[in-house]
């Protein structure tokens, strides 16, 4: 397995990892764009219980793991080598817990699992109580 340090020591950028670094940058940009959209929606909903806010946290964690795992950045960091993968596992676990909790409460209270953001001028996150037309029902 080629580590980032081996890359530097070899002094050869055009190793087998080079195309992956470029594609890794594409992944980073895509994640950033997704985070920007959900963060904007979360700011508009002004509610930390909203789906938008929670998925923003998930994407932010994922992005952090991705940045730390990135070969170009990893060589400057002093973290243990597996920390990026551990953050990925953490973000996946957060996503799983979030989805299952939302499912549990949606079933228990008869609410939507994902709030409609239509008409949230009151700042309550636009949660539509008793509306069974959403993703959760």
């Amino acid at each position: 397995m080629i580590t980032p340090m081996e890359n530097v020591n070899a002094g050869n950028i055009a190793t087998s990892l080079y195309p992956l670094q470029n594609i890794g940058d594409v992944t980073l940009v895509l994640s950033l764009a997704t985070l920007a959209i959900f963060a904007w929606l979360a700011l508009r909903s002004r509610n930390i219980k909203s789906f938008q806010f929670q998925i923003s946290i998930f994407i932010a964690f994922y992005l952090l793991g991705e940045i730390i795992e990135s070969d170009r950045i990893a060589m400057y960091l002093i973290f243990p080598p597996d920390i990026g993968s551990q953050i990925h596992v953490g973000s996946a676990s957060f996503f799983a817990i979030m989805m299952w909790l939302r499912f549990y409460y949606a079933e228990k209270r008869g609410k939507e699992m994902v709030e409609s953001d239509t008409g949230d001028e009151s700042g309550d996150g636009g949660e539509v109580k008793g509306n069974n037309s959403g993703i959760g029902k």
């Binding site: 594609i23 594409v26 997704t34 990925h88 596992v89 953001d117 239509t118």
Partner: protein, 108 residues
């Protein structure tokens, strides 16, 4: 310390556990003809696409296909998530427009 392969295995299992919920809702809402439900159904399909792409990515990484995993499946999953975000934004915006048309503000 766990090997990277184990992390990929754990990730694949966790994402599979997550996929159960939207898949359940897709199966449940199959017979619905409600228009709102149809929009949310499409969103759910995209979300399932993202989760399954993540599962495939971690399985490919687990099997040692690094180029396939990092070079194709991971960007594909992120594209699916970005598409989900855009579709969510559009659905939200359309819903607001629809609500404004149904309940116009006070006339001056």
């Amino acid at each position: 310390m766990l090997q990277n392969q184990y992390y990929n295995l754990i990730d694949a299992i966790v994402y599979l556990v997550v996929a159960v919920i939207p898949a359940y809702f897709l199966l449940k809402s199959r017979k619905s003809i409600n228009n709102d439900n149809d929009n949310f159904r499409k969103l759910t399909v995209v979300l399932v696409g993202f989760i399954l792409a993540q599962v495939s990515y971690h399985i490919a990484a687990l099997m040692g296909f690094r180029l396939l995993a990092k070079g194709f499946l991971e960007p594909l999953s992120m594209m699916a998530l970005l598409f989900f975000a855009v579709a969510y934004l559009v659905t939200t915006w359309k819903g607001k427009q629809h609500k404004k048309q149904r309940h116009p503000g006070p006339r001056t």
